[in-house]
Amino acid sequence: MNLLDTFIEEAEEHLSAMEASLLELEENGVSDDIINTVFRAMHTIKGSAGMVGLDHVSYFAHHIESFLDALRDGRVIYDNDMVAVLMDARDHINTLVNNDATSELMAVSEQLIAKVTPWYESDLTSASPTPFKSNEPEDSLGYWQLIVSPHSDSFKESFDVLPVIRELSELGECVVSTTLINHDDAEFIPTRCYMKFVILLDGAIEQDLIMSAFMFVEDDWEIACEFMSLDEERRLGDILVSMGAADGEAIESALTEQKRAGEFLTEKGVVTAQNVSQALEQQSFVEEKQAHVAKKQASVKVAADKLDKLLDLVGELVIVQSAVNQHADTNEDMALTNIGEELSRLTTEIRDTTFGIRMLPIGSTFGRYRRLIRDLSQSLGKKVKLETKGADTEVDKMVLESLNDPLIHLLRNSMDHGVESPHVRLESGKSETGTINLEASHRNGQVSIVIRDDGAGLNTQRIKEKALSKGIISDDDTLSDHDIHQLIFAPGFSTASEISDVSGRGVGMDVVKTSIENMQGSINLSSIQSEGTTTEILLPLTLAIIDGLMVDVAGEVFIIPLSSIEECVEVNHDQPEREDGSHLIKTRGRLVPALSLKHHFSIKGAPANYPQCVIVNAAEHRFGLIVDNVIGQHQTVIKSLGKLYHNVRGLIGSTILGNGDVAMIIDAAQLFEDVILPTKYSSSMETTNADEN
């Protein structure tokens, strides 16, 4: 990766942080924390852009930074209108970073600069913005050093130092060094204050908070509060000088002899053992922080394509491992079996580690959805708040990337069709601000993403009418409300009276469903009129390798994804097969529709003596897949089927078995839709008690 690529990648991260902070600013109002984050982002982009020769970016960022500098210094009073301009500036930098400096782009730069300039005009005469000195630095960058010398009459004036030091020590991680200075033994006056403190505090604590501890004494006490960089070495001699335990000259002279500093200074009587002990505590405070930062920074950026390549190789390794195991079994070779087992263990570990590297928190995408909701709220004239939960939920990088478009579709739909305009909400007794919840979690080895709005809900009657008019259903069909709601996933279905920029082109939900299914996921929607709509997406943790169940159908091997399997039962010969290959299987007191894979895929072969039924759950529907024999669990590397088999339904891909044969991977959800659902008895039979039949 070259310097420019690195800059662009980092700029995107900074712009993303800036966007999140600006949204927070708009929602919660101004705070030093937010302004500092935005300023930091702009400051870094300006500096880095200059370094890589993107002067047009640096020029624009410089002006925005000047404004932000004035804002954080209090020279400019924050106004809500500023967020929109800063948001535009953020978007413009994003464009500038990815494009050459055209005259059009420069014109936009000037327009935006012209908007912010009046806000800090009085400061324009000053030089360029002050170097970044954060009022609230990042924890990882340093720590606060306070050197506090209370006034000698503090005790006499009833200002005890104890509560002040206690308040500071309660702010966060802290080391206090206390020394007595400037006293002559003969003239020690107990009511005079000889105490001096050097206090190291966590860098994440706000400076204002620190200084508030000195509210009543700041005019009388000597207080030096300085932010110290972790890059600077904290030498024992310097600490002892700052503590007032000794002067620099004495330390310098004592240290001319090459011995351990603390020991030697104590021996020489320059400082006491207690002074050294306290100084060492300060040193270890800093060293711990340095180690913490080093640990945090001990990561490397790896190009995404290299990770993809690594995963491909792991996939190949899994196949080779299967081949070794199978060869060992076939030849009853004990030595090879042992090697195969060890290889399996290592392969599983490599596979899990590789997956771990590719896992990203889903929260990294939440920021862009917040922005989407904000922008749509403004364009639609609605008041909507996005609440997110489960930002730490990790999903595979590939899943995360593929999830973006479906989520945008769903959120747009919630905004456009779900949440009502403020006056409609008020009329229906709701608060004028609608809420959209976006929640992510891990559930049964899958990733669950729920989008819930408290809007109008789906209009069942209107969907039904539309489906009838489009011929998606017929008058004879008996459908529950839930079934009718699922019709919005049908291709070309839309109830929107007009096509808008936001949604309503009739392709959204179909595309969403297809995208989710392409990821071997499922989507389920439920809605209550006037109360809102909930959509849940269930996705596998990864798209590359899955655990599957290997089954045999007249000599052909199929893989059924283990995540969709509920149980396996033996097929009772008394349960006859219908002409279309469907069965009704009695399991756990209920009748479940089942499909013969042999029949469905037209595989010739004698009927099995003891056929098995694999009960799967697809989109909350249970049904069975009848096979001749269940072979066992199989770590399955998914290979795409290629263009020739692109239109074959019921298969999500293929895999290579240990013996080199190819096995097809079953798409249970598609089989349900194509075969079970049209038979009409699926949902009713599944819920009917067998005894009642």
Binding site: L180, H183, T191
Partner: protein, 97 residues
């Protein structure tokens, strides 16, 4: 020889003058190690801690040992805040509290 000095109920800005005079007198008049007994003490403030630090330093200067007996909660608490519990030999008291 060991000198036992019992501290008053309060070791604060309001009492340090008197306590200081009594302690210095006792330390000066007896050689050997010193025990500061806090069994009667209930309150210690920043000024009291300063006095203790000073008294410890003068005993140490003549190379004698000094220990605190029966430290009260207020003393231990203040020593912890100033991070001088080690200096005053109160680490074990700190651990037990």
């Amino acid at each position: 020889m060991m000198t036992n000095i019992t501290f008053p109920k309060e070791v604060t800005i309001f009492t340090v003058d008197k306590t200081y005079a009594e302690c210095v007198s006792a330390i000066d008049s007896h050689k050997g190690s010193v025990i500061f007994d806090f069994q009667d003490t209930e309150e210690v403030d920043g000024c009291g801690i300063q006095l203790l630090l000073y008294l410890f330093s003068i005993v140490h200067q003549r190379n004698d040992a000094v220990t605190i007996a029966h430290p009260c909660e207020s003393l231990v608490d203040a020593a912890v805040v100033f991070n001088v519990a080690d200096v005053l030999g109160l680490s074990s008291a700190t651990e037990s509290t």
